[in-house]
């Protein structure tokens, strides 16, 4: 059975001036009730084009052939149930508002309808409420669509950003890799010149060759550092449970000569396990403790490594009694190739903290430096205590 609401309604009343066109699908076995619904909508300012159906086959067919803006479903039908229509629509993932229109609907049934995905319900003796209910349902659907659109746009932008970051990584890696070959020739041959011809040309020549050779060697170190930095973001690292005690032990062994030289002492708590790549965790400790040794004050370095839980992470701290960092440099020290001291004062390229930051952020943590009472600096960073949780978020 099919009727066009506009035709039926127009016989008796003139259309309100600014009528909103509405494609509706009515699930209704009673033609009179269908007419009343259409009329109520008409009076509320809708110019309705309605398909009226009363069983599943006709309902699904109408959904396909005339996709409605709203479904108005009677709760009790002789051959089908309004509830089934709700389930069917939502099972298809459809976002079309569905409003239950019923002669009588108990609280339990009403709640169940909403639970199954109905947008709202209207009793047949309160049809004057229907236009407003439809209007709100349409508005909410539009808002949902806008929100979904915004989410999709955002997801796409995040995607693009990730891709462009990956491109940049790749570029930095390839560039620094390919730069090495010609630079190696410059370095090798200026060195060869310096060795073979030292004292055989004039004093200026020796000096100039020295400058060229020094510059080339420094650039080589920079490129190595850049490679190391860009490698942090590349694949090839295996995440697992990393026992920080054994990592720290290895790091301290490798730093032992430097520590002995200045009488450095490193104390540490019992450290936890973190979810990360072992080599990268070692690099973090190596760089932070290495810095604490390098930037020492008059006294032999006293360095403390601690960890405290900050669920779901662990918060580590590496503090020292060294020369410290002025608060205004708390951010810049983590930027690639940022140095606070002349190369002659403290050697290095300013890559260590940048690598720490990159590793830590790749693992979802963060690193910062806190002012330390007295002297010295206190670096803090977080690392996840465990990997992605399986299914229900069970944690070990």
């Amino acid at each position: 059975m099919k009727s066009t609401g506009t035709a039926a309604a127009a016989e008796t009343e003139a259309l309100p001036t600014s009528a909103t066109k509405l494609r509706a699908l009515l699930l209704e076995d009673n033609p009179l009730d269908a007419a009343l619904v259409v009329r109520a909508l008409f009076k509320g300012g809708f110019e309705v084009a309605a398909d009226v159906v009363q069983d599943e086959a006709a309902f699904t067919k109408a959904l396909r052939t005339h996709p409605p803006e709203v479904v108005l479903a009677d709760y009790n039908l002789p051959s089908w149930k309004g509830m089934e229509a709700i389930k069917l629509l939502r099972a298809e993932g459809s976002d079309i508002p569905i409003i239950v229109v019923s002669g009588a609907l108990g609280d339990v049934a009403a709640v169940e309808c909403i639970r199954q995905g109905a947008t709202d319900y209207v009793l047949k003796d309160g049809l004057t409420r229907l236009p407003e209910v439809v209007r709100r349902a349409l508005r909410e659907k539009k808002e949902r669509n806008l929100r979904r659109q915004a989410e999709q746009d955002l997801a796409r932008k995040v995607d693009e950003l990730a891709r462009s970051n990956a491109d940049l990584e790749q570029f930095a890696y390839v560039a620094s890799h390919d730069l090495q070959e010609p630079l190696r020739m410059v370095t090798a041959y200026t060195q060869l010149l310096a060795e073979r011809y030292a004292g055989k040309l004039d004093a200026n020549a020796d000096k100039y060759i020295g400058y060229a050779s020094e510059g080339a060697q420094r650039m080589q170190v920079l490129i190595q550092d850049l490679l190391a930095f860009s490698r942090v973001g590349r694949n090839g690292f295996t995440h697992g449970n990393v026992d920080c005690n054994s990592v720290l032990e290895e790091v301290l062994t490798s730093l032992a000569p430097a520590m002995q030289e200045c009488g450095a002492v490193v104390t540490h708590d019992a450290l936890p396990s973190v979810w990360a790549d072992r080599t990268q965790v070692a690099q973090i400790f190596q760089n932070l403790i290495g810095n604490a040794i390098k930037f020492r004050g008059q006294e032999p370095p006293v360095i403390a490594v601690r960890a405290e839980p900050a669920d779901p992470c662990w918060r580590f701290s590496v503090s020292d009694n060294g020369i410290g960092i002025a608060p205004e440099y708390a951010e810049t020290i983590f930027v690639v190739f940022q140095r606070l001291h002349a190369r002659t004062e403290y050697p290095g390229n300013g890559i260590g903290l940048a690598i720490c930051k990159k590793i830590i952020e790749h693992n979802g943590g963060r690193i910062w430096v806190e002012p330390q009472a007295g002297s010295g600096s206190n670096f803090k960073f977080t690392l996840p205590g465990h990997g992605p949780d399986p299914a229900d978020g069970a944690r070990s």
């Binding site: 890799h177 090495q180 070959e181 630079l183 190696r184 020739m185 370095t187 090798a188 041959y189 060195q191 060869l192 060795e195 060697q217 080589q220 490679l227 090839g236």
Partner: protein, 145 residues
Amino acid sequence: MKLLPELLVVDDNPADVALVSEALAGGLRHTKINSVGDGVEAMAFLNRREKYANSLRPDLVLLDLNLPKKDGLAVLAAMKANPDLRRIPVVIFSTSQLRKDVVRSYEVGANCYVRKPGNLNEFFAAVKSVEEFWFNFVNLPPRGE
């Protein structure tokens, strides 16, 4: 009488070939160095074709990866597929530190992978160590006729 060791350097960069020669010049082993500039030349040399008809099979190949015409891995693969050439040890000598280059080289049958050091003295030391290791400590297979 013990013949002088023969080294084949496969490298398209004359500057590197010169550095290898410099590194071994005046050494005790008097290693004889031949060099070719691309992979196709390398195969011609090893198979003693055309102008290389009278050259000797090398005792060791120092092979760059990034070569014109036929790259280092292809040369390595061709050598390992040839019964006459597969016993000649191959030392990969490349600037590349790419994991995939290292892994592929060993997979295809490189005997070792030596990174070309940036520093002159390290470069010399690396080449001299290769010479010392392969021509002093290693028992090489008899040279093919």
